[in-house]
């Protein structure tokens, strides 16, 4: 059975790009345009992998990532962060939120800064899905 991959990004061009990569490699794409909707789809559908942007309306990828990793039903879903926001910023932000009293969260499985090549993304997806 094909694996389902949830992509959360507010940029229609990126969504189209990732969707194409997923479909060409035999995965079923699930799409959300912000963290709030993404979290809802993750809870309803339980995807095999999540590709997550950071800077988005409604709820950022930073908050959605914390929600995912703090939820027993979702915390084991591997996450690829695919963003224009630097990895260092993502990690510092998570550290800051932990300092403010939130639970610590692990680092994401993979962090990729936009833009990425289709082959590079396909390889990382396959690697994570095979591993899980």
């Amino acid at each position: 059975m094909s694996k389902r991959v949830l992509t959360v990004d507010d940029d229609p061009d990126i969504i189209m790009f990732v969707k194409t990569v997923l479909e060409e490699n035999g995965y079923i794409p699930l799409i959300a345009m912000n963290g709030e909707t993404g979290l809802s789809i993750a809870r309803d559908e339980g995807p095999d992998l999540i590709i997550l942007d950071v800077l988005m309306p409604k709820q950022s990828g930073i908050r959605m990532y914390r929600e995912l990793k703090g939820d027993d039903a979702l915390k084991d879903i591997p996450v690829i962060i695919l963003s224009g926001i630097a990895r260092r910023t993502f990690l510092r932000s998570q550290e800051a939120l932990t300092e403010f009293g939130d639970q610590p969260v692990p680092e994401p499985e993979v962090y990729m800064e936009k833009p990425v090549e289709p082959a590079e993304l396909a390889e990382v997806i396959a690697d994570l899905i095979d591993r899980s």
């Binding site: 950071v54 800077l55 988005m56």
Partner: protein, 293 residues
């Protein structure tokens, strides 16, 4: 009330990141979420004779905005703040209103533009339309000097103008929600010259006394919260006297309630809020009567 989310509207000509940085004191009052909005005006990318829709231009403008927002967002994320961004093509006014509604923001911050279409937007009437249609207070941010220097703590010493309308009473309550960053509130009322039409000194003195007592009541509201307050009565044209008081009392911003009249009525009545938006040198925090507290 709980202030959490701020909509920062910028065209990158009138409002930069230093303006937002100067508002970071707001975190002490509960703000922890900034939503950036940049509207690419339709005229810049619309159909041109012989060229069609300027898709390349739209991409260029989007990416320029994106680079800036990413840089700004990184600074805020690293402080543990939540950040969102919208880069949209369209007419600014409806986009501001729809984004404010979509994100359910507690405060809209925008600049004052001097040329082009945005002059109309930030020229007064449209700001009032935002106030009327969103029930969200608007902070019209101003750079203090032509050199572009920002007022580092605009909420430290606000001048609160009272006209005794329900809107100005709401402004008192709204300003109190910033109690953690207010140092001193300067409360003022302007007695219009028309009120001096009586020839009786007693009657004029009675007007002065009544307004003075009302001002003292407002001051005591702030003082009970541990915030210093002082009151002042001015006489003359409302906008001119507000500006005079702000200058004499070294205010950091001006706070006013807005009546909720339709923008059309405001145009004819020449509202103080509109003049503050358009002409005041200081940032102006405009609070609609319909604000949720």
């Amino acid at each position: 009330m709980q202030n959490k989310k701020l909509l920062f509207v910028t065209q990158f000509e009138e409002l930069w990141f230093d303006a937002l940085t100067s508002l970071m004191d707001l975190r002490k009052t509960g703000f922890n979420h900034v939503v950036f909005l940049h509207v690419i005006e339709r005229d810049k990318v619309a159909m041109h004779r012989g060229k069609g829709y300027l898709k390349d231009e739209e991409i260029k403008l989007r990416e320029m905005a994106n680079v800036r927002f990413i840089d700004w967002a990184e600074s805020l994320f690293e402080q543990g703040m939540e950040v969102g961004a919208y880069i949209v093509v369209g007419n600014p006014l409806p986009k501001i209103i729809s984004t404010a509604a979509e994100e359910d923001v507690d405060l809209i911050v925008m600049g004052r533009h001097k040329k082009g279409k945005f002059e109309e937007l930030y020229g007064g009437s449209e700001t009032l339309e935002i106030l009327e249609r969103t029930s969200t207070p608007v902070l019209v941010y101003k750079y203090m000097l032509p050199s572009g220097k920002v007022n580092e703590k605009p909420f430290e010493r606000p001048l609160l103008t009272m006209d005794w309308s329900p809107a100005s009473e709401k402004a008192v309550d709204y300003l109190l929600s910033f109690r953690d960053i207010l140092k001193k509130v300067i409360v003022m009322h302007v007695i219009g010259e028309k009120e001096f039409k009586s020839t009786s000194a007693m009657e004029i003195q009675a007007i002065r006394k009544e307004n003075r007592q009302k001002l003292e009541r407002v001051c005591s509201v702030f003082e009970e919260e541990g915030i210093q307050a002082e009151s002042h009565l001015y006489v003359g044209g409302t906008f001119e006297q507000i500006e005079k008081a702000a200058s004499e009392r070294e205010a950091s911003m001006i706070v006013a309630g807005t009546t909720g009249k339709s923008p059309l009525k405001e145009i004819f009545l020449g509202s103080v809020a509109k003049k503050l938006t358009k002409h005041s040198m200081l940032p102006s925090l405009l609070v609609p009567a319909s604000v949720k507290l």
